[in-house]
Symmetry: C2
Subunit: 390 residues, 2 copies
């Protein structure tokens, strides 16, 4: 795949440049999400990258991987030093490992492989590099958005009177999968566990949960307390749909709201406030702007409309209105008031200013955006109004 | 939930006893699967357990967790020492952390919380404790099995001529979800990534993959190279269904095979060989038997029938015929030839002697069992014959 080779070498050149800036001589990538980033496909193994631009793919499985001049099949990581020597590469003075991702035991094993090389944390550098997508990555996310919007367009047709939220979610999942959704997504860290997505209706939106999602939901089992809870969706309830957008290893993150009949006026007001926030951020989120500023702009609009009590939750509040998104659902930067990162061209952000209204449910819109020189490009430009299912 | 309280205190008493045996004074549980084990529900936080039987639940989220005398709401783990002091508990001389599961960074953070306490690896002890299920855990797995069998019973009805393997899988997923499947399962470690399961038909069974599953499959995306590949299922192909059995946080693991029309005789011979292996192991897998012995018995039967070339793969071979199963799909012990663990009453094992026949596909049966004094109890006792979909 020559096109893919050019793409991954672009990514690795960017990574090498970042390593030079950070004084990191070499890095050994070992986690699934970063292996996919570094190669464009999942394999079991390691990618060794140096600050001066060497990239070696050490493949454990599958053993009959397509032959490639940069690939070395190895049985275990302990064989890496001998292979580096064979390739004429010196042991590095320091080596970056993904300390925020690899288990302590796996890290210690890899640290020993590099003997006296000083161990550094490669995770922050990799997160920063992955924040800014290449045009090919953006086009994969745009493709995700097209499929995800196509599913959302058909959601209206799935509703039947007296359906439970779980039944509604199962019908949406079926649409997603038929549209090519992989039925899987990668998340970073242990603070998110979910099935194909979150469908929360009515009072369930107010159930506090253990996870770092913007919204909670009680779920149907104490083993997975999030999302739909199995209750019948009743007249006067808002139904928030925030489901899996992974069709190719990247993903868009998108939320829309439906209603069962007419909602209280406050729900429409809060929903329109969410849209107003998005319209504002679409213009103001320019390269160079501090991420925290987006959060503060949103807060100011919410305060103007007097909706603070409902913003990003009611019984339990999420401290962010968005997050990076790409290979993983929860990439950096988090869009919190405290985030000092500056927006860069090519960053992809999911923005999701949402409100929970007691007894009614959750409202608000989420889109996935790319930071462009003149503002945000929306990868999920589908109708945003609350649509009535009745 | 008084019943659940009794259950988790039984589990924690067993854990404390194991800690005494290992000279581990205290343990701080922080990973999702072990938090669920230690509490019977998912929350964000920590469980502090001592060898002399104290158990403290430190809860970060949800903040309005049901009040409980053993629970302490904390904002961050750095507050644990002060809480222990308040409770009159001394800092331990050594503390076990889940080094095989927690990231290096999270581990270092928790290590600092315990200051001068010597850090030990809690993962092996927890794995051993979790191997032997309580009767309540077994009853949850039995419930999983009932639901999973009910889904498998209906699979025949889903087939339509010229269906792709992905379409067949999506139809099975729908059945699973309607039967109450959580649409999610926990796996241990990074070597397994999958959606709702594996449906592999025909030559796709021979596609080598990067993961540690018994069978591979090419998948539909380089981002998730496993399972169904999108090909039409053709006459003469075997279709192996090995899908998610998680209905309550525990799971059964179960495989059955269907055919599109008549298969070559070799396929039925290999399938019957798998069943013969299971019948033998059901009798021989008694408490006290070495796990590796199960593998060797299977190998001997395969050799007797001259099926070595196809056993556990053809182009790529899996080195095991089964594994522990429970909260996670891939628990210990692995049923490999090298495993020296001894079977214990109450252990739960998925046994899956399988064969890959080039051009035909994968055959073989997988059941989930409990080790009982007189042999294995089958939690998935459903018909095992290859059933024709045409």
């Amino acid at each position: 795949m020559p096109e893919l080779r050019g793409e991954v070498s672009l990514r690795m050149r960017r990574l090498s440049a970042a390593m030079q800036g950070a004084g990191m001589e070499a890095m050994l990538i070992a986690s699934n999400a970063n292996l996919y980033y570094a190669s464009g496909r999942m394999f079991r193994g390691y990618v060794y990258v140096t600050a001066d631009g060497k990239v070696i793919y050490f493949v454990v499985r599958p053993a009959d991987f397509e032959p490639d001049p940069d690939m070395v099949v190895i049985r275990k990581p302990e064989l890496i030093p001998a292979e580096l020597e064979r390739l004429g590469l010196p042991m590095p003075a320091n080596v970056g490992l993904e300390l925020d991702v690899l288990s302590y035991s796996d890290t210690e094993r890899l640290r020993k492989v590099f003997g006296t090389s000083e161990m550094r944390n490669a995770s922050p550098l990799l997160r920063q590099c992955r924040q800014v997508k290449t045009e090919r990555e953006i086009s994969m996310m745009r493709e995700d958005g097209v499929h995800q919007m196509e599913v959302y367009r058909k959601i209206d047709q799935l509703y039947k009177r007296d359906m439970t939220d779980v039944e509604f979610q199962i019908a949406i999942e079926q649409l997603l999968r038929k549209e090519g959704n992989l039925g899987f997504l990668r998340v970073s860290g242990p603070l998110m566990e979910i099935n194909l997505g979150s469908v929360i209706a009515g009072p369930n939106a107010d159930a506090p949960g253990p996870y770092e999602f913007a919204m909670g939901g009680a779920g149907v089992s104490p083993a997975l307390p999030c999302g739909a809870c199995g209750e019948i969706m009743r007249v006067g309830e808002a139904v928030m749909v925030d489901v899996n957008g992974c069709f190719n290893g990247y993903q868009t993150d998108m939320t829309r709201v439906w209603s069962i009949g007419r909602l209280p006026d406050l729900a429409y007001k809060a929903h329109e406030c969410s849209r107003r926030i998005l319209r504002r951020l679409e213009k103001e989120a320019l390269p160079g702007v501090e991420v925290g500023e987006l959060y503060r702009m949103a807060e100011a609009i919410v305060a103007e409309e007097g909706l603070e009590a409902y913003f990003m939750g009611h019984r339990q509040h999420a401290p962010f209105i968005g997050h990076g998104v790409g290979i993983e659902l929860n990439e950096t930067p988090p869009v919190t008031g405290r985030c000092r990162d500056l927006l860069k061209e090519g960053m992809t952000l999911a923005l999701e200013p949402k409100f929970v209204l007691p007894g009614v449910g959750a409202v608000g819109v989420e889109n996935t955006y790319v930071v462009r020189p003149s503002g945000l490009e929306n990868l999920t430009p589908a109708p945003e109004e609350i649509s009535d299912l009745l």
